[in-house]
């Protein structure tokens, strides 16, 4: 590739990984968050506890393809049943960060992964919430990662799958929710706490606004995200290569799931 030597998507995953620390107990959502959480574990946050909703606690997968792969269980400190995961671990508030992705997102961090169009007559039926509705309200705080697009980052989402900050202000408190909710959004262009704090290298303010359906607010001063280090990029590309090999059904060096 030309230019900076990394793709916007790689920058997104690595910038998201940097938000996690060794002290975090993180519930890993399906999709993009899984790569970010594992990059954190494999680089600067080796002490992080990764939890997947399939019941695996303290897992260290080589190939985090789905949320239930056997490898999650083989590498976990312990594996619990699904009711125990949601009752004793998530609901009780033992998890510091929930890491989610979104099909549609609004400026207040409300997430839609359920439906495009009307719920009862959907234009596009999406998978739905899974664990996310309770992850969004029971984890200490929520990080969100997604690629920017006018279709995905909208003024008004079609369905409230997972509650963020509602209409803003004290909307969470009014519902009796005591956790912080979404505090960080990392896209392929920026890192922000819903006010853009940091532009990824080579990204302009215009490019950020052009792919976002709400009026973007930039911090002053506005920083530039440090580019990926060699270690971060190598770790990410190795992880992707292992995942792609597993997708093709090939043997992976560290052992495939299950057997």
């Amino acid at each position: 590739m030309s230019g900076p030597g990394f793709t916007p998507e790689e920058m997104m995953t690595i910038a998201a990984a940097r938000a996690l620390s060794s002290h975090d107990v993180c519930l890993v959502g399906i999709g993009a968050p899984s790569a970010a959480c594992n990059i954190a574990r494999l680089t600067h946050a080796p002490g992080i506890t990764l939890i997947y909703e399939s019941g695996t606690i303290g897992t260290a997968p080589e190939v985090p393809l789905s949320i239930g792969d056997g490898e999650l269980c083989e590498t976990a400190v312990t594996t619990v049943s699904v009711p125990e995961m949601f009752r004793y671990w998530l609901q009780e508030g033992r998890i510091t960060v929930g890491f989610l992705s979104a099909a549609q997102l609004d400026r207040h961090g409300n997430i839609n992964t359920t439906v495009i169009g009307d719920y009862h007559h959907p234009k596009t039926r999406l998978p739905g919430g899974g664990g996310a509705p309770e992850i969004a309200t029971s984890c200490g705080e929520v990080f969100i990662t997604m690629k920017q697009s006018l279709r995905g980052m909208v003024e008004k989402i079609d369905f409230f799958t997972s509650f963020g900050h509602g209409d803003g202000g004290d909307a969470r408190a009014k519902l009796g929710i005591t956790t912080k909710g979404p505090t960080l959004l990392v896209t392929d262009l920026v890192t922000k706490a819903f006010t853009v704090a940091s532009l990824h290298p080579g990204v302009t303010r215009d490019a950020v606004q052009a792919t976002c359906g709400w009026k973007v607010v930039f911090a002053d001063p506005l920083e530039e995200t440090p580019p990926p280090t060699v270690r971060e990029l190598t770790t990410l590309r190795d992880l992707k290569a292992r995942t792609e090999a597993a997708h093709r059904g090939e043997k992976v060096a560290a052992g495939t799931g299950g057997a």
Partner: protein, 285 residues
Amino acid sequence: MVKFCSLAEALAENLVDGDTVAFEGFTHLIPHAAAHEAIRQGRQELTLIRMTPDLVYDQMVGMGMAKKLIFSYLGNPGVGLLRRCRDALENCYPRVVEIEEHSHAGMANAYEAGAAGLPFAVFRGYRGAGLTEVNPNIRSVTCPFTGEPLAAVPALRPDVTFIHAQKANRKGDVLVEGIVGIQKEAVLAAKRAVVTVEEVVEDFAGVHPNCCVLPHWTIRAIAVVPGGAHPSYAHGYYARDNATYLEWDHVAADRESFRAWMKKHVLDAKPEVFASRVGHLRRAA
């Protein structure tokens, strides 16, 4: 009294048209062989319960067997959407399917309430969630001690639950290991339970005392179907067939390719074929 028999016999005796049925397994030990037998025997008007409908309900919905779906995540894990389910919900093809949608927490709590013989489950959930406006079975109760409003959902009580497990012993006790998911609750919540297993062993000598074992008197029928969880996996036996999950995205994208695939791999097949599907996924001894 548990009965060891063929899968065809176990299904014929335990699943009837109109039943509310759960085929459970949380990405692991998904009872594909049992679902395929239900498809071959042509069951109709089923209410299908499953946290993650996955390929197995995409196939049953695509074949028009479901009148209602109770679920919490309608995706192909790690791949994307379920295209036969989408066709049913977006275009009512091949028929109208009613849905009752929950979160994972809601479903897990509802199964647990069913297993515990309670009428409903109570938990801290659905706060700010749009599902409360479209699913009338998501309600609220006030804690009599603290006054906190909490979510309530009715217990899940399937007529019959099907699961796949690693092994049974001669008495019919069933062992589930690895990601145990929701299977124990789904079995104990149901009026009848049918289990397919990788193998039957003499006894469970040497098994850790805290392993998940379902006693034989909680199960109606056991059928030995090696590979019966394919393309999901059986911890200790074979790995997940990720390539098949990816391939399904293409198969299910088109109504005709779906029908052709189902005829070849399900309608014209037998349970014995599952063993051959996992051969390349077994770890070399």
